[in-house]
């Protein structure tokens, strides 16, 4: 054990390749956390467990980038929220919303849903039609909204499985001589003569006719249900996984770093104090240390999480209880060595306070070791927390990576081949761990030059 100053440590560290890679990954993770904090509204993350928030998203769909690797492009899930609007005011006022879709996929969409809210009096007429790439127009729906004397806000979702849409689609495609029996309406709309997908530009038209001039569409959204969505796909509960993955980053860093820093500080002071005081104090403190060391950590963590609380901050505390022990042992033996040095004896004779000797003369000597053990103990904290969350004992209000994996396991993602639900969270855990292991090993190699050679 050689004592190394901070500046020397820094200089040596810059030379270490793995250490720099670690720092690189770590800063990448910090940037991800920043992106998560700024780009994703904090509201979305609070809505993680609220199914209503995810209703217009598809169920268990692949990420869209798989299309780059596939010959047959699977249809993306398309949500169009801002249609181009045309309004005409005459005796009969018309509000027309146009949704243009460029459909270039090799499979039919799952379904389509038109969701709208409209403010009106009287009983306006709603017409939905689609203009296909071959310029045929299909009228899908013609219905009047429920009559009302006063201004009302009407909210509705029209599904492609709607009976009249189905009937209209069959009639229209029979007109074009495309009709096939027993095919769902979206398959009729997007089919060519041979029953394959007709690629090209589709235009969905939604017209609202009203006699009174007061009809106002507040919200209008067309959802074309597909099999691919988002950068990371969605899970069984329709949640966009990228939100969970991004928010998992700051949470994992928070858990890992605060547990590591906390336990190293406690362990360091505890160990140094025991070593410096010696005799009875040392004996008692080390026996207590032995007890904690002999406790089976994971079972106790589970017991604590079940009986006391599973809030994320309590969890950080519980993890600290079990991780300072080893550090205390090592720093005790180091302080036993340092204690015998002459300058410590000198300051003792000068009558300096014990606390001053510990904090001014001994602990600074151990700082490089402390940094290395902080870096090395971060991954353990992160994986332990992920493991607890995986067992379903995590804090349900925060979407951590372990929690995503827990949900994946509950819904049998492995058996159903939903790889995009299993692989990314684990890779994120591993990358985060790796960053700290790299940094820790680089520091360790500087402190113990014997290992490097």
């Amino acid at each position: 054990m050689s004592s190394i100053g901070s500046s020397e440590l820094k200089r040596e560290f810059i030379k270490s390749k793995t250490g720099l890679i670690g720092i690189g990954i770590l800063s990448g993770l910090f940037i991800l956390s920043l992106i998560a904090a700024t780009a994703i509204p904090i509201d979305t993350f609070k809505q993680w467990n609220n199914p209503n928030n995810w209703i217009s998203y598809p169920k268990a769909t692949m990420p869209i980038w798989v299309n780059y690797f596939l010959e047959d492009k699977i249809p993306e899930h398309i949500i169009i929220e801002n249609p181009s609007t045309i309004t005409k005011k005459d005796v009969i006022s018309v509000t027309s919303h146009q949704f243009a879709i460029e459909y270039t996929y090799d499979d039919f969409p799952n379904d389509f849903i038109y969701e709208f809210s409209v403010e009106y009096t009287d009983s306006p007429l709603l017409q939905i039609s689609v203009i296909r790439p071959d310029q045929n127009e299909m009228l899908l729906l013609s219905t009047s909204l429920p009559y009302s004397d006063e201004k009302v806000i009407h909210h509705e979702r029209i599904f492609s499985t709607d009976d009249s849409i189905k009937k209209n689609a069959q009639i229209e495609s029979a007109k074009m001589k495309l009709f096939r029996d027993g095919v769902s309406s979206e398959d009729l709309i997007f089919a060519d003569k041979y029953g394959h997908v007709l690629k090209g530009n589709y235009l969905f038209l939604v017209n609202l006719y009203g006699i009174e001039d007061y009809t106002k569409i507040i919200d209008s959204k067309l959802i074309l249900g597909g099999k691919a969505f988002g950068i990371m796909g969605t899970d069984e509960l329709r949640r966009d996984l990228i939100v969970g993955l991004l928010w998992g980053t700051p949470l994992a860093l928070l858990i890992g770093i605060s547990v590591a820093v906390g336990s190293v500080i406690v362990g360091l002071i505890y160990g140094v104090y025991a070593g410096f005081k010696g005799r009875k104090t040392d004996e008692t403190l080390m026996r207590f240390n032995d007890i904690i060391y002999a406790l089976p950590a994971l079972p106790f963590l589970i017991i604590l999480a079940v009986t006391i609380s599973n809030s994320i901050f309590m969890m950080i505390g519980f993890l600290m209880i079990f991780s300072w022990v080893g550090i205390a042992k090592v720093s005790r033996s180091m302080s036993l060595q340092i204690k015998t040095r002459q300058y410590i004896e000198a300051s003792k004779i000068m009558g300096q306070k014990d606390s001053k000797i510990i904090f001014k003369h001994i602990i600074p000597q151990l700082l490089p070791y402390a940094f290395a053990s902080i870096a090395i103990s971060v991954p353990a904290a992160i994986t332990t927390e992920a493991g607890l969350s995986f067992l379903g004992l995590g804090d349900p209000t925060f979407p951590t990576w372990g929690q995503i994996l827990h949900d994946a396991n509950v819904f049998g993602a492995a058996a159903r081949g939903l790889w995009w639900w299993i692989v990314p969270p684990g890779v994120m855990i591993a990358i985060t761990g790796l960053a700290f292991v790299f940094i820790g090993n680089a520091l360790d190699a500087i402190i113990n030059p014997k290992l490097k050679r």
């Binding site: 089976p296 009986t307 855990i429 591993a430």
Partner: protein, 337 residues
């Protein structure tokens, strides 16, 4: 060492005790009410509802007193009594869980689970340590070589993956995509049938491969680091200079000198393996100690939790003791101190 054991038990009881009391009392209330509803004659013999309720309450109180639940769980008698019972290895009966043969005695449950955990995790630990020692010795004898670099890299990378996540991936790949191994680790045929052992080994393969794959890198790295220190010592240089076969130096002389810390870690990981891995067993559905622990904790089955903690702690302490003895054997300098 005995003190450590007692304090561990005390802590376990302290943490789960209060919850346990609530559950036990509810159990008593439920039992009394069930008995009364089963026997309508009791209800008919009461003139009004209040008297009837009073009767039920009295019954409940009586039962609670009979079971000794009227004293709080932290009262010295109750804690002392439970500690005494554990010391004489009487773990009592589980509240909810039973063993596969239907017995609810904690001792029976533990005896049934331990062999399974030994079968999977201890086997894995032994394979890991053998692989690790040889790979570690190999890379320590050629520091800086390709083997050394790959081993170190593999150790660092594999140790940052959670085992259970790799387990999920392995299940996904080899059980559902390629159908090579079964996904559930418990064989579907009964132990009495002839092909049972083969079926068991076949079901064991996937978890075993996973655990070994993730584990041996770290072991190799650890052994390498101990060995590198030894390889730099003078007596090794002297032996090299004499011209003794290099393999003989590495595996006989250097390995023996690096043995004490390796033995300590081996003893600890062997005893640790008996506890199974709660999460890994959950992923592979392996019915060993880890699963037992998790099930016991999720239903708050106090006797089982205490029994399992006790057994694991005892084994841990024994292995520390054994490691100390072996340390003295391999490194006689320790004895003279």
């Amino acid at each position: 060492m005995f003190g450590v054991l007692m304090i561990t038990l005390l802590l376990t009881i302290t943490i789960v005790g209060s919850n346990m009391d609530v559950i036990l009392k509810q159990g008593v209330v439920y039992q009394v009410r069930a008995e009364i509803t089963e026997n309508p004659a009791i209800a008919e013999s009461f003139a009004n509802v209040e008297d009837f309720e009073k009767f039920i309450d009295e019954q409940i109180d009586e039962r609670i007193k009979a079971l000794g639940l009227d004293a709080p769980w932290y009262s010295p008698q109750r804690i002392g009594f439970s500690m005494y019972k554990i010391l004489i290895l009487d773990f009592g009966h589980a509240t909810f869980l039973t063993s596969d043969s239907g017995s609810s005695a904690v001792g029976d449950i533990l005896l049934e689970k331990i062999p399974r955990t030994v079968l999977l995790f201890t086997t894995a630990t032994i394979i890991i340590s053998i692989l690790g020692i040889f790979l570690g010795a190999l890379s320590a004898s050629k520091v800086g070589s390709v083997v050394d670099r790959i081993t170190s890299m593999f150790a660092v990378v594999s140790s940052s993956f959670p085992v259970w996540w790799i387990g999920m991936l392995m299940i996904f790949l080899f059980a559902f995509t390629y159908h090579i191994f079964p996904a559930r680790a418990t064989p579907s045929i009964l132990p009495t049938e002839p092909g049972y052992i083969i079926a068991l080994l076949y079901h064991m393969a996937l978890p075993l491969i996973t655990i070994v794959m993730i584990g041996f890198g770290a072991w190799a790295y650890l052994v390498r680091n101990f060995m590198v220190g030894t390889m730099q010592e003078d007596f090794i240089s002297a032996k090299k200079a004499i011209g003794i076969n290099k393999n003989k130096i590495v595996y006989k002389h250097a390995l023996k000198n690096a043995a004490p810390p390796i033995i300590t870690i081996l003893a600890l990981s062997l005893s640790g393996s008996l506890g199974g891995a709660i999460i890994t067993e959950a992923v592979f559905d392996w019915p060993g100690m880890g699963r037992l622990y998790f099930e016991a904790i999720s239903v708050m089955d106090l006797p089982v939790i205490i029994g399992a903690t006790y057994v694991l702690t005892v084994l841990f302490l024994i292995s520390i003791f054994v490691a100390d003895l072996l340390y003295g054997y391999f490194d006689p300098r320790v004895k003279t101190e």
